[in-house]
Amino acid sequence: VVYGLQAISNANGWSMAFAGALIVFSGLVVLSFVISQLHKIVTLWENRGRPADSPAPEPARSETEPAAAETVFVPQSWPTEPREEALLYAPLLADLGGTVQLADLYQACRRHDFPHPHLSINRLREAGYLVDAGDGKVDWVAGGN
């Protein structure tokens, strides 16, 4: 039995290790690049046949949309300031009740087409508007911290 560097060379180990590392790395780089472009391809596909300047169609609203939709307002440009976001979230939280399951809140945001709800919810938690109540629930604190 041969040991050490000689054993590696005899088994072609250096080339196998180098080529193997290179292949797995390049494979995942290509996959990573493709998935980073995937949403652009999907958007192009979904917008096929539509003139470039025409607005995207409004998403169809469900017949069973909850009544809160009338009080919840979604502005054209969504604010990133927690205080302003809190104003937009307040009617939704009022409708859901003071303490709400985080998952339910997320679902409600999706129903009302709130953009990137996980970002907003995170900001509201950091600003103290949403406080952990345990068991996956959060409390709404109107004034924040």
Binding site: I8, A11, G20, A21, I23, V24, G27, L31, L38
Partner: protein
């Protein structure tokens, strides 16, 4: 009287030697770790109990042992030696995996690639220690920290090493909370551990989630066709989940099917560790190299994340590199816990799961590559 003596000479008490006792103690340790310490109980309970079953001494030739033709255990072991159970486990894993965090931050996939470097370093180490190339490749895959992948590749290349390699791979997966944190702490500063990962800038659409498994299976399996049995099943399971049209199948794959395969895989791998087969110098070498592989995989992920930070405006928390190994979700959980230890408001879990799922893909590709190399080398 003679009949009684003959019976007694056929009992396990009479036939037992020190190797059986050692292995039974190891089995008890596994069961203790799983039941009392909650270390990977889904794996360690079947494996630990399998070790007990496999090390009850018996009279050879009765068709009882796992290595004896026509024994029940031998038939169940067929799923291991053919690579059947690992493929089924991958089907279930795919049906359980949510790729949305990876799709939201594709660059985290590179950490899953970097953590595979432990595999190739261990390949060199095993060759240097005198293992044959096929054995070295099977040992090296422990660095992927993926039990089913290790078993799959070993079944193809070095079936006589399935027992020690599977036990080493699953042991180190269970010992993630012991192995990874010191390496992560050693390689990162407190400032680095405090880095908060920004939330993804966009929502992942349903269409992307549905297309990803198709793109993934084509890209990965065209690159390394030998990984088809693992990645083909993995992405198929994920497609069933994301397409939403075969919910019943996806649910079965992610519950009953993967559970059945895990039970049979764990039990038979445990039973394959018969003292006389398992307790050899090679097994000790495999355990040593497995620890090296796992540690280097963790370290290379962390170091690569630090290198990425040199070139990126938006810094990555280097702890995430440690979750590039494919021990799902153990390593992601460790990364998250370590991040929270430094800053309770730092939530790394979602990002760590992205690296973790990339690690699963990476280690399966590595298995395919190593298998191809060995086939090419004869």
């Amino acid at each position: 009287m003679e009949l009684l003596l003959q019976f007694l000479s056929n009992t396990g008490y009479y036939l037992a030697d020190y190797r059986h006792v050692i292995m039974i103690l190891i089995g008890c340790v596994f069961i203790y770790l799983a039941a009392a310490k909650q270390y990977e109980p889904l794996l360690l309970v079947p494996i630990g109990f399998g070790i007990l079953v496999g090390n009850v001494p018996f009279f050879k030739g009765f068709g009882l042992g796992i290595y004896e033709d026509n024994s029940v255990l031998h038939y169940l072991y067929f799923g291991v030696t053919t690579g059947l159970y690992p493929s089924i486990v991958f089907l279930g894993l795919g049906a359980m995996t949510d790729f949305s965090s990876l799709l939201a931050r594709p660059k985290l996939m590179l950490l899953g690639a970097a953590a595979q470097m432990g595999i190739f370093f261990t390949l060199l180490s095993a060759l240097a220690l005198g293992f044959l190339p096929r054995e070295a490749a099977s040992i090296a895959i422990i660095g992927g920290a993926d039990g089913p992948t290790s078993i799959f590749l070993t079944a193809k290349l070095a079936p006589h090493l399935i027992g020690p390699i599977a036990i080493a791979a699953y042991s180190y997966m269970a010992l993630i909370p012991v192995i990874q944190p010191p390496i992560m702490r050693l390689l990162t500063s407190r400032e680095e551990r405090l880095i908060r990962m920004p939330e993804p800038k966009r929502e992942i659409t349903k269409t992307e989630l549905v297309i990803f498994p198709i793109v993934g299976v084509l890209l990965c399996c065209f690159l390394a066709p030998a990984s088809i049995p693992l990645l083909g099943m993995f992405f198929f399971g994920n497609f069933m989940k994301e397409s939403g049209v075969v919910d019943r199948l996806a649910k079965t794959a992610s519950s009953a099917i993967i559970d059945t395969a895990t039970i049979l895989l764990g039990l038979t791998v445990g039973a394959s560790t018969q003292g006389d087969v398992f307790l050899t110098g090679k097994s000790i070498g495999i355990f040593f190299l497995g620890a090296v592989a796992f540690s280097i995989a963790t370290a290379s992920g962390v170091i690569f994340a630090k290198i990425m930070n040199l070139f990126m405006k938006e810094k990555i928390n280097p702890l995430l590199g440690a979750s590039g190994v494919s021990a799902v979700p153990g390593s992601a959980r460790e990364v998250h816990l370590m991040g929270q230890k430094e800053d309770p408001g730092n939530f790394l879990l979602m990002h760590a799961m992205a690296c973790n799922s990339s690690g699963v893909i990476g280690s399966a590709i590595c298995a395919g590559i190593l298998w191809s190399f060995m086939l090419a080398g004869g």
